[in-house]
């Protein structure tokens, strides 16, 4: 079971390294959005609060441009049956979730580095709060966008629908992480954000459990 999940993850990773389907587009996307923000606000002094909101805007849209690939590419190339015949649906789900988790952490890492380099006013005072927002936010983001990618892959209009469907489901998460990022700039203690952490964590758990139960229905018709 676990080794099969790992095998699917490795397959996706290897395929990604060979084809660079998602990676290149993603990195360019991050660069483009950040420079867009820089152009649009040229010369303005932006507050830390505004910047922490914008950070998650960048992360959300980068995720939307890359995370649907795992399922959509299988569907487009017709390799779905290969996987359907090889293992249980839940194994596929967790393999893909793992891949998306790695991808989202990659995105987060890259975005934050680029952000810290370009946005002068973005000064994080309490790094533990900031880091836990990124990690738990990443977990939640990957979990919800994986199951929605699976839905999207079966629909006719794949590209446009993805952010439309993901955004409302992700909003509770995004509002919480934005709030946490603001707190981290204000220098709040980790203990103060306990409520936020609980929301983020339970969001992740709830979405993963629901996806695990529902994935069978999407995967096989």
């Amino acid at each position: 079971m676990l080794s099969s999940i790992w095998a699917i993850f490795l397959k996706d990773l290897k395929s990604e390294i060979r084809t660079r389907y998602a990676l290149n587009a993603l990195l360019m996307f991050v660069v483009v959005t950040i420079s867009m923000i820089l152009f649009a606000t040229a010369g303005e002094v932006m507050s830390g609060e505004l910047l922490s909101g914008l950070l998650w805007v960048v992360i959300f849209f980068s995720a939307m441009s890359g995370l649907s690939r795992t399922f959509v590419s299988e569907e487009d190339r017709g390799t779905v049956i290969f996987l359907q015949l090889a293992t249980r649906p839940s194994v596929v789900y967790f393999g893909k979730l793992l891949f998306n988790l790695v991808l989202i952490f990659g995105i987060n890492f890259f975005v934050v580095i680029a952000y810290l380099l370009t946005m002068e006013n973005f000064k994080v005072k309490s790094f533990d709060v900031f880091l836990s927002a990124l990690i738990l936010g990443g977990l939640g983001l990957a979990s919800a966008s994986t199951i929605i990618a699976a839905i999207i892959a079966k629909a006719n209009t794949k590209g446009t629908l993805y952010p439309v469907l993901s955004f409302p489901v992700l909003l509770p998460l995004l509002i919480t992480t934005i709030n946490m990022t603001q707190l981290s700039i204000e220098g709040a203690k980790l203990a103060e954000t306990f409520g936020h952490l609980r929301i983020l964590f339970s969001y992740f758990v709830v979405v993963v459990i629901a996806s695990y139960l529902l994935f069978d229905y999407i995967w096989k018709e």
Binding site: I151, T157, V169, P172, A210, Y217
Partner: protein, 226 residues
């Protein structure tokens, strides 16, 4: 037919009472607290309607019976309608109580998200042509949406400070309206109104699903004849 007539009379009486019964003085809200008889029941109902939609979505996934999907969609539609009513009434009320139509209060955010989710749900439905696939995918989406909604409806408004009566940081005075420590008359009328709204919902729901089922049956018939 007779109970439908009675329901009409019942709703009329409740509406009249909602405007005329004495509700006692509630600091911070005053007479504007009367909105509770229309606004809160319709908010509740939209949640109930979405819940019913989810139940039918689960039933569809289990049985693969297309009628369950039709009912799920019907309930979601009505939920959307009530949600819209809640948003509009709430927004108008907010103009007079808080000074602007929209304040991004957590509860306003949550209803906005509900509208977005079910908006996306209908977009998804319209984007898929194959009926079974449409039913399955939209069922899964509505369940996923429903498990994330509680974060908004029940948790967020209580954690984040907001303006809405009953949220964290609300001045002590308006609390009774939501915690039901309100005037006994008011409480009875509130629950009576909730009941009336539920009956109206059930009626529309029945109509909507009967209509769609009949449509499917007729289409099947036409197809068979050709």
């Amino acid at each position: 037919m007779i109970w439908k007539f009675l329901l009409g009379v019942y709703i009329a009486i409740i509406t009249i009472l909602a405007f005329v019964i004495p509700i006692g003085f509630i600091p911070g809200l005053g007479e504007r607290a009367r909105i509770i008889f229309l606004h809160v029941p319709s908010a509740w109902l939209s949640v109930i309607a979405f819940f019913v939609a989810m139940i039918y979505a689960v039933r569809y996934l289990r049985s693969k019976n297309i009628y369950e999907d039709v009912k799920s969609a019907a309930s979601a539609e009505i939920g959307f309608l009530f949600c819209f009513v809640t948003t509009v009434t709430g927004s108008i009320w907010a103009k007079f109580n808080w000074g602007s139509f929209w304040n991004w209060d957590p509860r306003e955010t949550s209803i906005f998200v509900l509208l977005l989710i079910y908006g996306a749900y209908f977009v998804l439905r319209s984007a898929i042509e194959v009926e079974e696939r449409k039913a399955t995918l939209s069922a899964v989406y509505s369940i996923i949406a429903f498990v994330t909604v509680p974060f908004f409806i029940f948790i967020m408004p209580r954690i984040m400070p907001g303006l809405h009566p009953g949220s964290k940081g609300d001045p002590e005075g308006a609390g009774p309206v939501v915690t039901f420590k309100m005037d006994p008359n008011m409480r009875i009328l509130f629950f009576a109104s909730l009941l009336g709204f539920t009956l109206v919902y059930l009626w529309i729901f029945k109509l909507r699903s009967r209509m769609e089922i009949l449509k499917i049956k007729i289409q099947n018939k036409i197809y068979q004849e050709v």
